[in-house]
Amino acid sequence: MIPEHPMASRRGGVSRRQALAHGTAATLAAARALAPSLFVGCSLGIRSGGTTVPVGLLHSQTGTMAISATSLRDIELHAIEQINGSGGLLGYQLEAKAPDPRSRPDLFAKRATQLLEAGVVAVFGCWTSVSRKAVLPIFEQYKKLLLYSVQYEGNESSKYCVYGGSVPNQQIMPAIDWLTGPDGGSKKKIFLLGSDYVFPRTANFITKRYLASKDLRPAGEVYLPLGHRDFTAAVQQIIFSGADCVLNTVNGASNLGLFQALADAKIDPAKLPVVSTSIAEDELRSLLPHQVQGHYAVSSYFQSLDTAANRQWIDGFRSEFGSDRVTGDPMEPDWCLVHLWKAAVEKAGTFETEAVRQAFRDGLSFAGPGGTVRLDPKTQHCTRYFRVGRIRADRQFDIVHQSDAPIDPDPYPQIAFPGWSCDWTKGGITRGPEVSIDGDI
């Protein structure tokens, strides 16, 4: 027995030393017991940096392309929110970073660099080909994926780009077939009208070659700057050319001016229909119905597609973004593209670019609102349906024609680019003779 210290005071039979020892032991035990529950819910900063993965959304939210491109940002946000809501991707929440390139190609390049330097794992973005071409070298330099969902002119395939939209053999060439066939009115004099940049120029080059293969020549060809609003002179040219149809590759807000000029010239869509490649339901919101009714658009998807999957998708989007929101062509391929990328990441088990590209090689498919699409591993393009819609007064389309099955992509149609092809499962691009887009046929 240890003798009690003479200075020890008594506290009801307990010495101060004992009280201290018991108190300290009790405090430590309480601290040990409470600590885990006390800090539950406290991330100490790890949550914000450790369990999210940044994804870039590179779409113009101001400027001439904003009218179209903002909807792509929204559908991507919707897809990302849905993925996050169902537990995320590989256990990570996707964090959308959406800067505004303001419809300027130079800013697209700058914003793309900023996104890639900020560590995004992939970027969904661009609308115009000029913007896509401005950023592709940057993606190739950083070895990151650009996922591009808008229909475009083809004649391109990048190792670091996945293309979700239609290429000419999926949209413009079938449109020519339809227009020159009995269902389209057996048109012979097609006028080519476009914005002055890569897509319309290349698309019309392919169109001219394709028309030539049918012993036809365009009735005329006019290009106006992107963002141009005064189409009065162009419409006069169309009238004087004696065209029986206009193939419209004008993009963005310029379509307001075009259809205003057509209406002012009292063009009857039954006699001189305008077939647009870049007008969907979202663009129709800004066009006056009486100016566009009866004209056509060619696309891989229309909101009026009457399927259960499509209705469910539209309802989901509207419940989040408002009941008056519409869906359209680049939005549906964009939705499919986000999910194809998700499937590839899941298959790869990582966000690392090369592993994701490797996962593409198995030919992933996704049952989208417009039908099942498959990612062609050779071209890194998607299969697409071809559909023709006639514009209604309620800013929707009557689908008047549809391909029997999704059309396989061919970014280098041989009629325009002989000898050219690509196969990313083997050696990449096979080069043929150089083709001058501006050359006469």
């Binding site: 006390l38 900063g45 101001t62 800067p99 408002g322």
Partner: protein
């Protein structure tokens, strides 16, 4: 209390209060055991030492209590002012939405759609960032997109001119309110106030250690005092940043507006 300490706000409020009390009581008790015996050496031979320490502590506590009270009021005013800014922004947004609803189509629909997009962004994306003490930037892009589209509209009648002028005025008011909300994301008590407050707490506790009384009574009475100091500190921490913690501003004004926008 800047971004270095943002993790504090990730702790659930009840647990943060408990943690704050535990820190103060723990400090008091540990000091009682380890530091008090040293401190007592300074006053043990002083006659009526408890009375002297008591007088000094009373005097000190008047100043410290006043300081704590004023700081708590200031912190509450910060929260309250930021809350008013949020309400004003939502009200301005609502008025702007009403104005552009009277625009001819398709301008009206496009403008309404952009305002809905902005409101959705504030609720879904800006608020969580604000709660982490980050000023959300992408709302600026949405406001600019609306401004672009608003300026695209060219009035064709005198009535449209008046409506457009009113929408522009309302938009400028909205921008002011929005900017004030963003400023308040980072608003907090200055660092010097925190130093003075914490020093005051320590001095209060140190002076209490100098009292000569039975150990268990010291533990109990000191613990009560320290727990209240911890509670006060929790209250000020919680109100320090308007968008963080339990006493913080919610996006309710925007949520109500967004529901109404979607009902239209």
């Amino acid at each position: 209390m800047d971004t270095d300490f943002f993790w504090i706000y990730d702790i659930p409020p009840a647990k943060l209060a408990l943690l704050s009390i535990a820190v103060f009581v723990g400090f008091y008790w540990l000091g009682l055991i380890f530091i008090r015996p040293i401190l007592r050496q300074f006053v043990k031979n002083t006659p009526a030492a408890n009375d002297i320490v008591g007088y000094i502590l009373s005097c000190f506590c008047v100043f410290y209590g006043l300081l704590l009270g004023l700081i708590a009021v200031t912190a509450y005013q910060n929260v309250s002012e930021a809350g008013s800014n949020v309400t004003r922004e939502a009200a301005a947004l609502s008025a702007l939405y009403e104005d552009v609803s009277r625009y001819p189509e398709p301008h009206g629909q496009n403008l309404r759609w952009l305002l809905r997009d902005y409101t959705r962004y504030v609720i879904k994306y800006a608020w969580p960032l604000q709660q982490r003490g980050i000023i959300p930037e992408e709302g600026t892009i949405r406001a600019e997109a609306f401004n672009d589209r608003l300026l695209d509209f060219e009035p064709r009648t005198p009535a449209q001119e008046i409506l457009h002028a009113e929408a522009l005025r309302q938009f400028n008011h909205f921008l002011e309110c929005r900017r004030m909300r963003l400023f308040s994301v980072k608003s907090a008590l200055p660092g010097s106030m925190w130093y003075v407050m914490i020093l005051g707490s320590i001095l209060t506790i140190v002076m209490c250690w100098m009292f000569d009384m039975k150990f268990i009574a010291h533990l109990a009475l000191g613990g009560i005092l320290a727990s209240y100091l911890g509670t006060m500190m929790y209250l000020i921490i919680d109100m320090n940043q308007p968008f963080r913690g339990d006493v913080s501003i919610t996006p309710e004004a925007f949520e109500t507006l967004y529901r109404r926008m979607n009902e239209d």
